[in-house]
Amino acid sequence: MLTPRHAVTLNALGLYAIAAILFAAFVFQIVLSELPCPLCLLQRVAFAALAVGPALNVRFGPRPSHYAVSLVAALAGAGVSGRQILLHVLPGDAGYGSAILGYHYYTWAFVIFVIAIVLIALVLLFDRQFEQAFDTRQLPVLGRFEKTAFWLVFALVAGNILNVFVECGPDVCPDNPTAYLMLP
């Protein structure tokens, strides 16, 4: 059974997974010298949004409302990435950016958002995780594992703030960016 303590650990693992995705996006951006388009950036924003639910669960203990926050974020991300898939769905369209393991970033993003929705639905099946949170209102005792998970995600979201500013400057991001506007 999923106890409140197990749920906190599981949500911390979720934060690590989101941090890994945001980090991988940075790595591919730099290594392949491919700048993210506005819809690509919106998908990264959706991953940042997806971190809010697990962060709340880690900080305050698991609650259905926190999982609802995650579901809203995952649906928003799936909507944006699904839209970008449809933009490049016609035969002969090379897609935007490089393909990683046969799929473009937005396709991977769509798959990950759908997986997140399924996982959240599965975790919500375990009622026992919610009992302690509502009975005692005790906040979880956080160790280094949980704190590191949160600050890792926070640092990567902060890194994205800097990245967007360097790429687009104080302006709207171009549809097909080819250079960092704030770099000489």
Binding site: L42, V45, A49, A51, S65, F154, V157, V164, D171, D175
Partner: protein, 78 residues
């Protein structure tokens, strides 16, 4: 800082469309990242209800920004 550009009449692909909206400061994705970073920070500092409120406010701005950027027609033929 997030604004729509309904006034823009230049065709897609023009220099103005691809580079900037002159006379306005639009940092749409930067603002969204900032707001979600603020949401995470507020949540971590014990303000649960504020964090959830901020989350849904930012999601509303996210959807507005998505609609702003989703201007390309989907060339589908079912």
């Amino acid at each position: 800082m997030v604004a729509r550009a309904d006034h823009l009449t230049e065709p897609r692909g023009s220099v103005l469309h691809e580079t900037s909206f002159r006379g306005e400061t639009i940092m749409d994705q930067l603002v969204l990242f900032l707001l979600f970073a603020a949401t995470l920070f507020v949540a971590w500092n014990g303000r649960r209800r504020v964090a959830i409120g901020l989350f849904f406010l930012t999601i509303a701005l996210f959807i507005a920004d998505y609609l702003h950027h989703a201007t390309d027609p989907l060339t589908l033929s079912f």
